[in-house]
């Protein structure tokens, strides 16, 4: 019979124990995991990129649900263990689930420290430890407002940078005089502070929190008061002042604990059948807060479980990096000043570079790098190896490329590393292992290397080094810019697929999937809508739109709302309307009891809360008044906003309203990779906000200045100027050609500003402004495709198309089945 292994906690440390165990001895144990968090094992380190929006939760999962099934592991999510009975050898959860064990691993991680100032338990005061904390912060950030982060260490600064990214006003309160004082010396701390301040994060050092003040109704926080009486407004307070091992459960079970659970080098607790790994552990008087040593512990524990001899866990120097995009920071070893210590410092203020090496007895014992961290790994290696540096002292600070007078080649630093040099600190992966895996297993992409070696798979800061190793090993064959596949159903990128659809004349979704060897039977919700668009765009006359591959809004021609009702937005060309149109809208609202009528941000009127069954009738009435669909739901032309221009305005230089209406009437109905919004302003005062649109026009005395690639949604970006043209007709031709170019090249869901950045603004200008022939060809292709697109989808449905979409298949009476 297999032995029973029970694990308490499903964090990064035990996850690694199982990886190693299953790699060598998959059938030794029946494994049961109790996890207080209601989820699978994920990369806690990467919560900051999730907070800042650079990653999604799905991307940081280490073991997905399928992994547990494949390995026969029983994962009990949301089951917090409250008791370990060492005599009966059982553990029991809060909900009463009990499991027997032969071997038990305690991996309860650590708990964030909460400073017990008055107000610490108000709603709106969060810590930073797990996904729930991130979700709560994101929720708070949605309404903007002010955040105060207490603690200027690694976690606090990552939280601050993330919340700032999400649009909050952020203040960091730090008790000590400089930031991250445990990892950085004062000089680097100051550099870091000014970088963060330049990003708009307010930093107060030497700030001692006295109290968190509630809102009058106690429903949240209002401000943080410091000991010196200063009050800082706050809608959200994040406490990131440190962690302590979560050892209470083990202590209650009678295991020996101090600050953490005491273990020997074999990771055994005072009970020989119980191991402890991770942040809950105390070893040789030390507790840990970074994954590198925890993974080392995990390796030892796995060997122990297999009964393999091993050297046991030993404490070694640690390196830290801050994961805030655009801030390069590296520290390792010990950099306190001392009588016997010397230092080498390099400052390059203009380039924002600071490097400091601390030496003792001709060896490096500490390193702090700011602004240029490329050599961090090499210095760290010298610390661990205890290399005698007396021979290369003069050039040491310039790193391996110079040390010893070697040639100055950016690759040289990596090439110079010995095989046992550590590349990935988190996972303890050395150069030799990576190079070996690349050549033996024929790995050619970063993802492959991650999957096989785990290098760069945790915090990701060594990605650059891993890529350099790949270039060194593979030479030309390695392309770091290799693009990612469209979705899990194919290895091809959007560009490849678009090119092959044209080249192989693929004209249906099944044809694409067949010819391009799709891996799933009928695609997924990511690729099907993309393929449908590419085919509509490339074969406007031949392709039969596949409605089942469109998102519901485009299938029902209205916007689905959170309660399953729909909203209806008719076109109001250029934002103009009339008494008869308004009267017709008023009548429809009354007749169908429409609960909300709202003026949209796009200069027209939205009717919200309409039942799906009523849509065709609503459209029929609107159609009688001359309205067509506003495509407020479409990856297509949305609105063309205008200002009053020469019609009325004393500053107007051209007929901006007229041009807006002309563009909208010409281009409505077209499908595009993502939505397209435009605006025309009558003068540079820009009342129609044309300079943050996908395409905008600023009218001037001498003509029409065309703008493109602006954004004002998830990102904010002013437009680029395409060029100036003299007449309205020229303006229309240029705009249409630009949009057609985007239609033909854009990736599905990629707005114009992202597409233009990808291919280069100059390239767009060259093709649209400078190359009249190209421009004309784009224009003609757009006009051709409009022949098949300018059909009002509402009137089509009023006359009976897609009837099934709008009514239930059957209505069963309540008695029917009784």
């Amino acid at each position: 019979m297999k032995k029973r292994l029970v694990i308490i906690g499903n964090g990064m440390a035990p996850g690694r124990v199982l990886d190693e165990l299953f790699e060598h001895a998959p059938d030794l144990y029946d494994v049961t995991i109790f996890n207080a968090e209601p989820r699978v094992n994920y990369d806690r380190i990467m919560l900051s990129p999730v907070l800042s929006g650079e990653k999604k939760y799905e991307e940081i999962i280490i073991h997905g649900d399928a992994w547990y099934v494949d390995h026969g592991v029983e994962l009990l999510k949301g089951e917090k263990v409250v008791n370990i009975d060492r005599d009966a050898k059982t553990v029991t959860s809060e909900n009463g689930v009990t499991a027997e064990y032969d071997k038990l691993i305690v991996a309860t991680g650590s708990l964030p420290i909460v400073i017990p100032v008055p107000g610490h338990d108000l709603p709106g005061v969060l810590t930073y430890r797990d996904l729930d904390d991130v979700t709560a912060m994101l929720l708070a950030a949605k309404s903007g407002g002010k955040a105060v982060v207490i603690g200027g260490g690694l976690l606090g600064l990552e939280a601050a940078a993330g919340l700032k990214e999400r649009g909050m006003d952020v203040t960091v309160l730090h008790l000590m005089p400089t930031l991250m004082e445990r990892q950085l010396d004062a000089a680097a701390g100051h550099l870091l502070q000014s970088t963060l301040e330049a990003r708009g994060i307010d930093i107060k050092t030497g700030a001692n929190t006295a109290e968190i003040l509630p809102q009058p109704n106690n429903k949240g926080v209002r401000a943080v008061r410091l000991e010196d009486g200063t009050e800082i407004d706050a809608d959200l307070v994040v406490m990131a002042v440190g962690i302590r091992p979560n050892a209470q459960l083990a202590k209650d079970a009678g295991l020996k604990t101090n600050r953490g659970i005491l273990v020997d080098p074999q990771m055994r607790t005072s009970d020989p059948d119980i191991y402890a790994v991770g942040e809950c552990v105390e070893f040789d008087g030390k507790v840990y807060g970074l994954v590198a040593p925890l993974y080392q512990m995990a390796g030892v524990t796995a060997r122990e479980l297999m009964g393999d001899a091993n050297d046991g866990f030993s404490d070694s120097a640690l390196a830290t990096k801050l994961k805030v995009t655009g801030v390069d920071l590296y520290s390792a070893g010990d950099f306190a000043d001392g009588e016997t210590r010397e230092e080498i410092v390099l400052r390059d203020a203009a380039n924002g570079v600071y490097k400091r090496l601390v030496l003792e007895d001709d060896k490096i014992v500490g390193v702090v790098l700011y602004g240029d961290t490329a050599d961090g790994g090499w210095f760290f290696q010298q610390i661990k190896d205890g290399t005698d540096i007396s021979g290369m002292r003069d050039t040491l600070i310039f790193g391996p490329a110079y040390a010893g007078g070697e040639a100055l080649d950016p690759m040289a630093a990596v090439a110079a590393l010995p095989d046992d040099a550590e590349i990935c600190g988190c996972n303890g992966v050395c150069k030799g292992k990576i190079v070996g895996a690349i050549s033996e297993k024929g790995l050619s992409s970063l993802d492959d290397v991650r999957a096989h070696t785990k290098a760069s798979a945790s915090c990701g800061t060594c990605t650059g080094l891993v890529e350099q190793l790949m270039s060194l090993t593979l030479g030309e064959a390695f392309d770091p810019d290799a693009v990612s596949p469209m979705c899990g159903c194919t290895d091809l990128s959007h560009d490849d697929v678009r090119r092959l659809i044209k080249a192989k004349e693929l004209k249906t979704i099944p044809a694409v999937m067949q010819t391009l060897e799709w891996k799933s039977s009928c695609g997924c919700a990511k690729c099907r809508p993309a393929l449908n668009y590419y085919l509509v765009c490339d074969w406007p006359d031949e392709y039969a739109d596949d409605y089942q591959s469109r998102f519901i809004n485009e299938r029902a021609h209205a916007n689905i709302q959170k309660d399953g009702t729909y909203s209806v937005v008719p076109r109001m060309w250029g934002g103009q309307t009339s008494s008869s149109e308004l009267r017709a809208i008023a009548d429809v609202v009354d007749k169908f009891n429409i609960p909300t009528v709202k003026v949209t941000g796009g200069q027209r009127i939205d009717m919200l809360g309409i039942k799906k069954e009523d849509l065709p009738a609503v459209w029929a009435d609107l159609g009688k008044a001359g309205f067509v669909s506003g495509h407020a739901y479409a990856k297509g032309l949305r609105t063309v906003k205008t200002c009053v221009g020469t019609d009325w305005c004393r500053f107007g230089t051209q007929d901006s309203t007229g041009l807006g209406v002309r563009i909208e009437k010409f281009m409505w109905g077209s499908w595009t990779p993502a939505k397209v919004k435009m605006a025309v302003s009558g003068c540079p005062r820009n009342c129609a906000e044309a300079t943050c649109k996908d395409v905008g026009v600023i009218c001037v005395d001498s003509g029409y200045e065309i703008h493109f690639a602006g954004a004002a949604g998830l990102d904010i970006k002013g437009t680029e100027v395409l060029g100036l043209v003299k007449t309205e007709t020229q303006a229309l031709e240029h705009i249409v050609a630009l949009v057609q170019m985007y239609r033909e090249q854009g990736h599905y869901l990629e707005r114009i500003y992202k597409w233009a950045k990808r291919i280069g603004y100059d390239e767009v200008r060259r093709q649209i402004m400078d190359d009249a022939e190209k421009r004309r060809a784009y224009f003609d292709r757009f006009v051709f495709s409009q022949k098949f697109a300018q059909v009002d989808p509402w009137s089509e449905r009023v006359s009976g198309k897609d009837k099934h979409e709008f009514k239930p298949m059957a209505t069963l009476s309540l008695q029917a089945a009784e």
């Binding site: 039977s521 591959s549 399953g564 059957a810 009476s813 089945a817």
Partner: protein
């Protein structure tokens, strides 16, 4: 009067006929309502039928309005993927919806198991 409603309640043993298979678009779904209960009846790419409660376990999105792929549907509101066979949310998301037995009858009509509805009456009572 709604033509399809004529099909309603035509009982054959414990199976209720909902209408013709062709009333459901391939890789699509239709709603069937019964009092407060809404059921989404799906027709997958390989022409099999499935029925699950039309209420996403996340925030009650109408699953019948989603995109059907393989034996799953992606919810129209926030893209959860729900298995049509088991009603269980896939990937990292957690939750499930009720499933109902459904099959295609001899004359290509869609049949829903009435017993599964009774269970509903009981559990709601």
């Amino acid at each position: 009067m709604n033509q399809e409603a004529d099909h309603m309640n035509a009982m054959t043993g414990n199976w209720i006929s909902l209408g013709a298979l062709d009333d459901i678009p391939l890789r699509g779904a239709r709603r069937v309502v019964r009092g407060d209960l809404a059921i989404a009846v799906f027709r997958t790419g390989d022409d099999s039928v499935r029925a699950i409660e039309d209420t996403c376990p996340h925030r009650k999105g109408p699953l019948s309005q989603g995109i059907v792929h393989g034996d799953c549907v992606t919810c129209p509101l926030h893209n959860w993927v729900i298995s049509l066979e088991t009603g269980v949310a896939q990937g990292a998301d957690e939750g499930s919806v009720r499933t109902f037995r459904v099959r295609v009858g001899k004359s290509a009509e869609v049949l829903l198991c009435a017993d599964d509805l009774d269970a509903d009456v009981k559990c709601r009572a």
